[in-house]
Symmetry: C2
């Protein structure tokens, strides 16, 4: 796929030549799992998208530092290896890696009878990306008055499935349920893969001040990671359309607003902080983006307020 | 631990500056799990060594390409997080990383109720190391007449536990069994951590032609990975002392010799190929090493013959 991948060493890994053109190359790595979204995949018997989830989740994680993905390794573990199921999982991994220009360089498929039961499996991923040291995005220049933009998510992405499963169920019959608010079934809404924001954000990385990937912990826990001390973010409800699946979960589960924004991305998968003067060109470059709030001084009311 | 580790980005990963001094730096990565050695740890209620296993396994894997470890990430998954157990696992990871000068840069601890039961957990690791492109060990210069050396293992390392458990059991009471041939209990022999060969081999990497880390697949599957076409290796039985735990498994399980050498390391955890003229200085530098065989022409009798 890329000339940087060298002939394999024969173990479950790989060799990748550091790309030229970096003065002070910094490797950015992340490790994560798909979590209990796997139970949705199992209930639906659909395993070709969870690989997309873990790759795109990982790509977005390192993107918050300004990093471009280089290579990815996967870890799949089952009680008894099911070659058909594993081929589906790998198809998802492979598709997503191709789409983001990342080499699927290796991985381990572990058979562990007794630990995993039936067709249960776990899937984790490891990514390594690269960024020029002076170009690392760290949010340090963020100040009150800066604009907060959001890029839409495709659904729950890879987080909030414990609450979602509690409200909507996790059986095969729960997955085929339909509600007027959804265009498809519950299962289709829940299995929708995590999207990557690399293509949207790569062209504008030098134009922005900070990024927050809205994963576990929702708005409340993820946005503060990119904020310097003394600053907070105010998010304006109604500035974007909350996805129907979240409205359904909130209504059926009678979940408080604060909890919804702490658990789910609510339709915004990536939050961008930029100076106000950059907003017009950012909106032009990323037509899906919306201004969803602004940076304020931290008045001790919480780093993220939403109303 | 190292100045190359940059301030964390706030997600479960990390940033690591590529070390200076490389002309064409190549990243060597590997992903692996501890496998069913975890069941031995559970039976013994001893979780502070499995971290050592996965780190050293990974370090040895990338060492076969000539790579020095840079950083490591772990993936731990449980049904319900047990902070005491996880602290023990991380202690092992951390100790081993320190010993090999590798930064434990991040990781993910996933709670997945329903997938893992009771105190069951899975542990996988991901390592990235570095090697100068021109210094990659690839065995290409290996030719008939070259010497084959071995460095001793500490036990099963991280492979062969399915067979070992079948023969010796995997209950707490099986673990406290004692046999005259063993100095300690069965559990003590089985839980002994995988050792790293980095300190032994780093000083002599330019003196050798190829390395094979004896993991799953034993001698039979691992040695050919470092051999160029047309060559084979003959291993001389009796050239080293087979560890008592392997003798016990073979005797109790009535396992054929060929199977033993295909499943286990039999007391040799790393195989080194070098030209005969280098052997005296290699043995001086690595007093534990032994000449255990030689490279021959491949006569179609198998890439690895043992007798």
């Amino acid at each position: 796929m890329t000339p940087n991948v060298l002939a394999g060493p024969g173990f479950f890994g790989g060799m990748f030549e550091v790309p030229c053109g970096y003065n002070k190359p910094v490797l950015v790595s992340s490790c994560d799992g798909v979590g209990t979204k796997l139970r949705i995949a199992s209930a639906m018997g659909k395993h070709d998208t969870v690989g997309i989830d873990i790759v795109n989740h990982s790509v977005n994680d390192i993107l918050t530092c300004g990093a471009t993905p280089l290579f990815f390794l996967d870890y799949i573990a089952m009680g008894k290896l099911d070659p058909v199921l594993i081929a589906e999982v790998v198809k998802g991994l492979s598709t997503a890696c191709q789409q983001v220009g990342c080499a699927l360089i290796g991985g381990e498929t572990a058979e562990m009878p007794g630990l995993y039961h039936g067709n249960d499996y776990d899937l984790a991923g490891f990514i390594v990306g690269i960024v020029e040291k002076d170009d690392i995005l760290n949010g340090q220049s963020i100040k009150p008055g800066d604009a907060v933009l959001g890029l839409p998510s495709t659904g729950l992405h890879t987080n909030g499935y414990s609450l979602a499963r509690r409200v909507l169920g996790e059986t095969a019959s729960a997955m085929i349920m339909r509600y007027p608010i959804l265009t498809g079934s519950v299962g289709e809404a829940l299995i929708t893969p995590h999207r990557s924001y690399l293509a949207d954000l790569k062209p504008v990385l030098t134009e922005i001040k900070g990024l927050a990937h809205i994963t576990g912990g929702g708005f409340t826990d993820n946005i503060p990671r990119t904020l310097p001390p003394g600053t907070a973010v105010h998010i304006t409800k109604g500035a974007w359309e909350v996805l129907p699946i979240f409205e359904l979960i909130q209504e059926l589960g009678n979940v408080a607003d604060a909890e919804m924004y702490r658990v789910f991305n609510m339709g915004i998968g990536m939050v961008i902080v930029a100076e106000p003067a950059k907003v017009p060109s950012l909106l032009k470059s990323m037509p899906e983006a919306k201004v969803i709030g602004e940076v304020t001084a931290d008045k001790g009311l919480g780093r993220v307020t939403i109303d």
